[in-house]
Every structure is written in structure tokens, then in C-alpha cells.
């Protein structure tokens, strides 16, 4: 195995053997010829190894799911920087897509991956990204079953872009969606917010804090399993780009109901809050990559919360608000000092290329 070290909170692997004869990615690595074949056999296959991928077919032939409904979701990842504290573009590309599957109340099973690589990307960087994709996928119990690689001229993309598509099987007897949200439902957030966006921003702007702010990038399917077993869940959403406020606004609009939040109960870690103050950002608009918002039946809420607290991804879960028939389509927040304001959708970009 390769050696893992940490530098400024950014994971770094060193390659145990010279993985290929080339130190950097060449255009020819995407040509479909000998070098592409080398890349697949020496870099991708040994890490992602499974029966479906090993067939090296044009597509993966997957087993039947015994009548369970399928969920499919796709997402592209262009984050800059590609390595950041708490993760990298590889782990993010796995977590991001499988979380979208989990938010449909489904168990993520398979991933496909498409790489668009800029000519000149160090092989070492690609290797690190592949390793962390593999680590993230196997930890979440999903397999990478087919893929594609393209290499473009220098300057035509920024180092590496990754697309992943996930396939999942909907959990039996589960209906989760905005349409299921009921008045009096409690709104739970699975932990502290705004960490991913601030981690990326700190690296990009060279901000230094007493300790390094790490992205919260993580797989949420295990947490969702736990929650579903402990009570009635009506809707789930992972508040990624646009943060908690955008996710809640979308759901308020889709459900035709109103939400009321208590500012004081929204968990934000001290350093993240400090960074937000410095940068003039509101944490409820900042991206998360390992958090979920759950709308749960009021009488089940304490039980679900307790179960969440037992799970590594839900230790800091909190009830942050509730659903009301008043002010349909609007999210209202009771401020720390007792005033009230509307929480609107984010307009424009707060931070560029965070995922």
C-alpha cells in the first residue's frame, strides 16, 4: 500500500512504485490507444477492481434488483483547489453523488466515473485522486463499475474535472420527497454547517486559523439508514452549494409550506463562524458536503435525533426549526436577539468552484 502523510491537513500519498513510465499525463493518455490502456490497467483497475469493471466492456452489466425501484443521479466536480483539508476532488466526487442517491431514500450501489484531465497533470496527483476515490467508495459500500477518460490540451480545463453518476436502489416502503413534508414536522440538521465552503475558501485565500478548518465531505448513506430505522422521515436534502438556506427555500417552495428556524440552534463551529465574520459570509449560505437536512414527523423527532447522535456523521445533529402552514413558500428565521427575518435564496455566487 502507499504511505499516507498529512501536510497542513491535506492528505498526501506517496506512490510505492513508479506507476507508469510517465510523470505527467500526456494527450496520448486519452487517445484510446496504448497509453490509455496502460492508464486503465495500471492506475484505475488495480484500485477500483471489481467483477463489473474487470470485464473492461463498453458498459457494465449489473445484476437485477428484484423489483426495487432505481435512483440515478449525476454530478460533475470542478473544485479548485483539487486537494484541500478534509478531502480532494476524488473523495468529493464520490461523496457528492452517493449523497444525492441517499437523499432519495435509496441505498447507493454503483458509481460510474468520467475524467476530463488537462494535459500535464502530474501522474502522482491522479494517483492520489484515484486512491481517495477508492477509499471513499469502499467505505460507503459502493463499486465503481465503468468509466471514461479524456485528456484535453493544456489550458482547456483546470487540471482535472470529474463526473460521477450513481445508481441506487430505493429502500423498501420508503417515500421521501418535498411532497411528503407535513405541518409541524421538525427540521433536523445532521451537524455543524458551512465547513466545506470555508475550508476551500481558507486554502484559496491563504487564511490561517489556530487549527486547520477541514471540509466535512463525507458519505451520508449510513446515517440515512440509521435514521430511517428510527422513525418517520418525510424529506431529506444535502445542503451543498447555496447552503442550508437554498436547500430550505427549494423545499419550502416545493412543499407549499413555511419553515421557521431558530438562529441560535443552528450549529456552526467557532472557527468557521470566525472565518465567516472575516469574509463577510453568512454560514447559512455556505456549502456543506457531509451534512443533511431532514424533515421528520414531530413525534418521532427526539427518537431520530437520539439515533443520529450515535452515528459518526450525526453526533452534532440538532433540531433547528419546524414546518408551519403560515407564510407558505417562505423560510423565516428568529434572530439571536429576538427579531425576525426572511431567509432568501442565494443570489449569484458567494464562492466560485467549491465542488
Amino acid at each position: 500500500m502507499s504511505k499516507i502523510t498529512y501536510q497542513n491537513g491535506i492528505k498526501s500519498f506517496s506512490c510505492p512504485i513508479p506507476i507508469t513510465d510517465y510523470k505527467n499525463i500526456l494527450l496520448a493518455h486519452g487517445s484510446g490507444g496504448k497509453l490509455t490502456n496502460d492508464l486503465i490497467r495500471k492506475v484505475f483497475l488495480p484500485q477500483f477492481r471489481n467483477n463489473y469493471l474487470e470485464a473492461l466492456h463498453d458498459g457494465a452489466i449489473l445484476p437485477s434488483l428484484d423489483g426495487r425501484q432505481l435512483t440515478v443521479s449525476t454530478d460533475s466536480f470542478v473544485v479548485d483547489p483539487i486537494f484541500f483539508p478534509g478531502g480532494d476532488i476524488g473523495s468529493l466526487a464520490v461523496h457528492g453523488t452517493l449523497n444525492d442517491i441517499a437523499m432519495c431514500g435509496a441505498q447507493p450501489l454503483y458509481l460510474t466515473v468520467g475524467f476530463i484531465i488537462e494535459e500535464g497533470l502530474p501522474m502522482e496527483d491522479l494517483w492520489q485522486i484515484i486512491l481517495s476515490m477508492e477509499e471513499a467508495a469502499s467505505a460507503a459500500g459502493v463499486q465503481i463499475v465503468t468509466g471514461d477518460t479524456k485528456v484535453v490540451d493544456r489550458g482547456k480545463c483546470d487540471r482535472i474535472f470529474i463526473n460521477t453518476t450513481g445508481i441506487g436502489a430505493v429502500l423498501p416502503n420508503i417515500i421521501i420527497g418535498a411532497g411528503q413534508i407535513q405541518p409541524d414536522d421538525q427540521i433536523i440538521v445532521s451537524g455543524d454547517i458551512a465547513r466545506h465552503g470555508i475550508a476551500i475558501m481558507s486554502v484559496r485565500e491563504g487564511l490561517e486559523f489556530e487549527s486547520i478548518i477541514k471540509s466535512d465531505s463525507a458519505a451520508l448513506n449510513g446515517l440515512v439508514d440509521t435514521m430511517i430505522q428510527s422513525g418517520e422521515i418525510h424529506a431529506l436534502r444535502d445542503p451543498t452549494r447555496g447552503g442550508v438556506s437554498s436547500a430550505l427555500n427549494e423545499l419550502a417552495e416545493a412543499s407549499g409550506l413555511g419553515f421557521v428556524l431558530q438562529e441560535e440552534s443552528i450549529p456552526v463551529h467557532e472557527q468557521v463562524r470566525a472565518a465567516c465574520e472575516i469574509l463577510g459570509l453568512d454560514p447559512i449560505y455556505v456549502a456543506n458536503e457531509g451534512k443533511l437536512l431532514a424533515f421528520v414527523k414531530s413525534k418521532d423527532s427526539e427518537r431520530i435525533l437520539k439515533a443520529m447522535h450515535q452515528h459518526p456523521q450525526g453526533r452534532e445533529a440538532k433540531i433547528i426549526g419546524e414546518v408551519t402552514r403560515d407564510h407558505p413558500g417562505m423560510v423565516i428565521l428568529n434572530s439571536r436577539i429576538g427579531g425576525t427575518r426572511v431567509v432568501d435564496m442565494l443570489t449569484g455566487e458567494q464562492l466560485p468552484r467549491i465542488c
Binding site: 403560515d326 417562505m330 429576538g338 425576525t340 427575518r341 426572511v342 431567509v343
Partner: protein
Amino acid sequence: MKYLDEYRDPEASQKYIDLIHKTISREWTIMEICGGQTHAIVKYGIDHLLPDKLTFVHGPGCPVCVTSQEIIDKAIAIAQEPDVIFTSFGDMMRVPGTQKDLLMVKSEGADVRMVYSPLDAVNLAIKHPNKEVVFFAVGFETTAPANAMAVNKAHISGVRNFSILSSHVLVPPAMEMILSSAENQVQGFLAAGHVCSVMGYNEYIPMAQRYKVPIVVTGFEPLDILQGTYMTIKQLEEGRYEVENQYARAVKREGNIPSQNLIRTIFQVTDRNWRGMGVIPASGLEIRPGYELYDAEKKFNVRDVEPVTNSECIAGVILRGRKKPTECPAFGKKCTPEHPLGAPMVSSEGACAAYYHYGNYRIKKDKRITEDLANE
């Protein structure tokens, strides 16, 4: 968070809310100068917690909002010159000029970059000796020292490919203009704490006496604003008109002398055209003779373009405190943060953006939605 949570404390806030309710006996109108204060008022819902007798009008203290369209057009013209890297704070990027905004010019291929400090722009100039790096120096007295320092740094280190486009404005002349207007309604001011941290508050003393208005130097956290409001109301009720300092943890009477000296070294006072308010004598800062090399207006021979302002935007009336954003017919309809007709809808300190973003116009004081919204 130390030094911040104390100023957002619910109990202390309630104490001042109660004091204001007890003290106020008649209708008063006070103006908070700074856009940062406007945002705190709506963000924390302070306006919903205070008596109906008190009206806040929102002042001109949003540097982006008061930057004239001519200067924005000039910035856009300079950004389009070959071999220019045009740098600016993020806020200015989406403020509409006559034809375009800076983001549009960027999408067409101009090298426009967002920076967090003018010193970053100087460093860019050092890194790109074959390019001309221009920094859009907007702001009040608060940002002037940093911009002066950037020019000074370029001067000392012999960086010749750096310049600033100055649209610096000064607060006291604008306050004087509001007070001397026949239509003025403002009876007291929350002066801008950060401006005073640089300039001190000596210059407000004759103004308070001449116009018989209380002026309270005020900070930006909810408790600051509540305390500053209480101090202003108390003066009004007692018939006093003095300059008081609520923001003593940051502001000294004489201000920050080294910063003032730096400003005076690089800049000199000039007349300035304020968006929506017109030309105010001696209300701006321009680069002093001797430093012309760093003056983008002199370096680039960009001719004045006759600006066509949008007649539907009532930014001027709002910046003078004559109307509230919600009284504008275009507010939230034709004019939104995605499609702003004027700067106050763009800037993070703009009054229109604050009203729109925090949506308080959509909630009544009893926290229910206004009827017209329910009927939509």
C-alpha cells in the same frame, strides 16, 4: 466568539429595547449613515423590535451605491484596454454602468479580477511587469488608508505598472448636504463607527451645533445599534444635540492619526459627483500631484462618456433618506439583485439589497405576511 457574541447578547439587547420603548414619547426620525448598520438592522430584525414612533431612514454610507455612473463607465473602459488587469472588490463587479457591468466585460475576455485588498493588486503588478494593474479604489474614509498604503508601497518599491481609479468619498460633506436640504426629515444620526475609527469625531461637533442634531458614533453589532439608538433618542427627548461616542472600543475622539497622515500624503480633497445626489463640493479624494503615475484617470486617457441613468431607479431619493426601498415602484419587480437597476440593489451594503435579501418587507410586525403578498 469573544468580542462579538457579547454584542449579540439577547438579554442585553432586550434591556435597550425596553429602554427605548420607555424613553420615546413622540415620533422621531433618525438616520444610520452606514450601509453596514442598515444591514444589521434588517438582518437581526431590529426594526421589528422598536417602537412604531421611531423611523430609521437609511443613509448614503454605501460606497458602491454612491459611486457615480461616469466612474463605473470609466472603469469598464479601462478594463477593456489591452494589457490591463483590472482589479476590484467583488461588490463593484455587478454594478451597472451605462451599457455593461464589469462582470459582463470579464465574460467578453477582459482580465477583471476580484481582490480582497489593494495590496494584492500591487503584488499582481509586481508579478506581471508587462501588464498595467489598476485597482478600483472605492470607499469612504475607512478604506482610504489601505488604498493610500498601496500607492505608497508601489511608490517606494518602484512599481510603475500599478495605478488606482479613485472614487473616494467623504462622509461629513454628505451629512451636511442632507441636513441643509429644505426637505430634510432627519432629526438624529447614528454616525458610521468605522469611518470615525479613522477620522475621529471632532469634525461632527460643529455640525451637531449648527443643525441642532444629536450625532452618536455607533458600531455595527445589534447591541451597538440598540445602544446608539437609545443614546440618540435620549438626546432628542431631552432636547440635547451633542456628539456622543457609543463605539468607544474602536473610536477615539482624534481618530487614527498615522492613517490620517497617510491619507493626506497620497490624496487631496476634491469635489465629487455622488450617484443620486449630484456634485458635493469637497466631498472626495483624488491623488495628489507628485503621485500622478498611480492615478489611473491620468494614465489612461479615457474620455468622459455621457451616462444615461435609468429613470426608474430612485436611488438618489433613497440615499438621501427621503424614501424607503419598498416605496420604489420597481423594487422587487423590475429591480432585483439578479437584475439590478441601480447600485443599492447590488452592494452588500445597499439599502435596497438589505430590504430585498432579508425580506422584512414581507413580514408584518406581528410576524405575519403582509396581505398583498398573501394575495399574490
